[in-house]
Assembly symmetry: D2
């Protein structure tokens, strides 16, 4: 931690702050420049509160050298984490594909999609039972009934199921029924929910918030991990920018950046990023090429009549075609689908 | 609602979609241009699902003429809403000031701040008991104990209390103890929480999400109002942009825009927007001048030792000075503090 | 300047870099932490190239303590700069209003607007002769003929004229004819143009680029000042964000931030920021309250027939009303209009 | 074009506007809804000025159905444009690689890099002679001398040269000396410069502005094309967002979007987008996979001593390795390098 003092701060004031830091267990190293005095803190800085120092009126700025996340940090855990789900996995040499409809709509719909995506090469079935919708007047999902249909589809196909948890009061049910619990972008900083899923042993698929920095995403993972659950899969799904042609701007640079700083697996959701079905294929290929550990793709047998996100869903035929293209790329990148 | 078809869509396809729309109870009006066919829908469009039409592969784009919010919309409720809290109010001719520390830290701290801000002219006491923090390792608030101290401070000063609710399982306690329930920026699209507070009769202070558009903020208010609770106060607190000098970019244009489209009162939080105590005064004055109904300001008796957000908190002395400046401005703007 | 080395960099490598820095005339101060080695550079760092150090593969990051601008920096020039234009000024105790049409359209239009705004209290006349337009098919301005009309309007009213220079080949003509040369937002980093106007003695009104940080705006001012022209007036005119209701998001926090770090005067353009005429009044009032040195406002006698930006122009009647409201505010803020 | 009138606009007012539109040569089609009146314009709308209609106080909003660009629009030019440069090309079945140092620094540096990149598979040599730098105190390029060295390197290697033009007064020299004229991101809306290069016959490499929408990029291309020069190559190089880990956020979705709406070739510059050398390889591969027509990559033989952008430059060895990986990908995508 490096502390820059305001120009012309008196030596007494600087010494007072230095003494305070030292009394908290750090060593201080001072650098006196022409306009600014700077000092560095070394040793156990864990008792020092960042915002308290920033609040000091004589401090110009505080600079952090060490990342604020620990359990998610590759420095302390150099090997890649592989999250196992039954006989499937996310991370390592696998490129894992999660596919399925935006929302569960009916038994017939879900099972037919599940069978088709399995046939094409998907390893996991996604489908929303509880849906976060911008408007209270839009379809809010089939809820508990949707969970039952997901279980049925798993039974028929063997595909593990991934679905979003929106509030902590459903957590026992999800732990019971679901294979991977998804935390949606809008809840990425719903810290109470993060803590609750951190107390379970379930794999958690944590989506990046629309305006979350990479560091904030890793801090959200840290919330889950600090409660004891280290089975966290990250998901890049586009960030909000000034460009409105696409629903969000897919930040593919985030993939190698996350891989440098964290050991957690990270997948890409091109459907929500783009919001347009015809962008899913090129972005999915780019996600594989950039080094992601997998994809989450919306597939619907009748997009024009989907109850949500039809404009970004691809058909099972296109999905099949996409997977065969991805297999060729995966081959070059030494990944298995 | 206006639907633009893809170039060269066949007449049969267009007619099929028109018939479908008409069967759902709308009239259609077609406009045939050189490259595009367009049609407008009039009448009861409530049964038509926006995303379903967008999902139609022959549709180029869908344009909405009417705002998607109803209860929050000034068109259907031309008079300004005034939210009453005991003998206080937010909205109308009042410019209401909510002040207090970022987090409740001790009885002595809270009561002394409460007395000082009341003396200066604040109408409400704020203070965090449950704190949303980016890091799981930061102080998470005094929680239930904090609520008790807020009640004590209310007893001593008569100031109604405003504090943040982070999860639905505490809602009964908040309804019992608190005067205004705050929904924080990170939970602005925690739709389950919005629905729950919508079922109460308590005034709700709804903060704009960091990357929420004005329309999304009004849709979040709609979630609360559609459950029956129309006592919603909006709060602009800065949006996330590329400019990093300030913690967020305060969007003061949002105030007159919200007032044009909605009847709900709207206040400004300059402390969280700027993240720097010395910006609070100029931004507070600008908020009054731009037409806000009030302010939410962080005040701390010892910012350098505050347990959170000390760098953006002002002292009671500065707060007193600020209020006296605001009173002069309010006088010109025909508002009372 | 503070240099953070990559974790596990060898002592030899660190010493090599330290020696290099010392050979360039700096002293180095090392801070050895658990995971990172850091060192600070003190003394004459002017010969050290920031990007060269960042390019060193063993360097994790480089942190700058001192701002990169010198002539624009308040540290080296504590008094406010007041730019004098004839018997008028921008900066100091004045709140200066520049008003006029988006583009010069005809003699009759320009002179009648000029007379009306002068009567209401404007100190400067603006009007575009050379217009930067997003489309090559839009009206590009009356060009040289427009300049002639501006001169005529100045002759009739005595108001100094402010107009935009788009390319260096017109610079002699502008120096001859114009009182304040405007550099538009799209040219804020047209460095060749900045250097050219830096060689003149004319006051320069430099608008913030749509996606420029405050620091980049001050660096653009530095380009002009480093060539010898210190008569620079800055202008905040909105930045590009995800919020599309307004044309841009007016960043009023930038005003006190600029005033803290620079001695240059700074004005606000609410017309271009908002893009909507009915937002001009509240934003203009907020600009005064936040501490700006003046305003630039688009005024048109017939907005519905204006050749550009009619939707953001106010009529002379509204402008008159606005100025009378601003005068009351200015009175409280100890500013003169 | 679709015009939405304000709620409760009188029939007389609506008719007045309709008549005006019809007198300009359009037909109007009215749609009367409950709260809004809407009308569509069909026929020759070329005489109608968008901003004039928006300026009408009775108009709520104006919606454009047709894109504003014509010559760059794929609707009017369905085949892909291939830009030929000597015996090389950009577009079509080629994946073209432009490589070289950020700035030309010396004869030895430039020629050795040129030889190495040619050997590895680059088709064009880039190198800055005139450099746009944020600080006036940074190295501004070798200027005319740099151009001479580029010519020398072309003579030695046969690689066509690509370099940035910053102001119109150098245009004759560039037409004479250079093979592809680059317009930098900061000058994307320097409309005078766009018009000037539009009058030449040289291929123009137009980089997307840091905060330019895809539509604005295509309108900038339209400026060049409307003057008669249709040899335009677009370049995505990252946009400015809230995420600061990378210098900019590479918007790879823009590639398929541009290809859908325009016939112009589009390449990607991963070096400037990321600002970090270790991100160049994954982003370059993603660019190929997403469908770009080529790359522009910074290569330097001694990045730690580069005079600019060393932190984002890769060495010739890494470049060689990158190209061999790209060749495998290109093979799958039916592209030649």
């Amino acid at each position: 931690m490096i502390i820059v003092m305001k120009p012309k701060t008196s030596i007494e004031t600087i010494n007072k702050l230095k003494n305070k830091m030292e009394s908290l267990g750090c060593q201080t190293h001072e650098i006196v420049g022409e306009n600014y005095s700077v000092f560095g803190l070394v040793g156990d800085t864990s008792k020092i509160d960042r915002s308290q120092i920033q609040a000091n009126r004589d401090v110009e700025k505080v600079i952090f050298v060490q990342e604020p996340y620990k359990k998610a940090n590759r420095i302390f855990h150099p090997q890649d984490t592989i999250v196992k789900i039954g006989d499937k996995q996310i991370g390592g040499s696998k490129f894992s594909i999660i596919a399925g409809p935006c929302s569960v709509e009916s038994k017939q719909q879900l099972i037919s999609i599940a069978e088709e995506i399995k046939e094409s090469g998907a390893s996991f079935l996604r489908g929303g039972a509880f849906k976060p919708r911008t408007s209270p007047y839009s379809f809010q999902g089939m809820r508990e009934e949707g969970l039952e249909l997901l279980k049925l589809a798993r039974e028929k196909t063997g595909l593990p199921i991934v679905t979003e948890l929106m509030s902590a009061d459903k957590i026992e049910r999800f732990v019971e029924d679901v294979d991977v619990i998804q935390i949606g972008a809008r809840n990425m900083q719903n810290f109470d929910l993060l803590k609750e899923v951190g107390k379970t042993k379930k794999p958690i698929l944590l989506k990046r918030g629309m305006s979350a920095t990479i560091e904030e995403l890793l801090m959200a993972a840290e919330y889950i991990m600090s409660e004891g659950n280290e089975h966290v899969i990250l998901c890049e799904r586009g960030i909000r920018t000034f460009e409105k042609y696409t629903r969000n701007t897919l930040d593919l640079s985030a993939i190698p950046v996350i891989k440098k700083h964290s050991h957690l697996p990270v997948i890409v959701d091109p459907s929500h990023a783009a919001g347009l079905w015809w962008l899913v294929e090129p972005l999915a290929k780019a996600a594989l090429a950039v080094g992601a550990d997998g994809l989450m793709v919306e597939v619907h047998n009748d997009p024009a009549n989907a109850r949500c996100d039809g404009q970004q869903s691809i058909t099972p035929e296109r999905f099949n075609d996409l997977v065969s293209k991805l297999k060729k790329l995966a081959n070059i990148e030494n990944k298995e689908i």
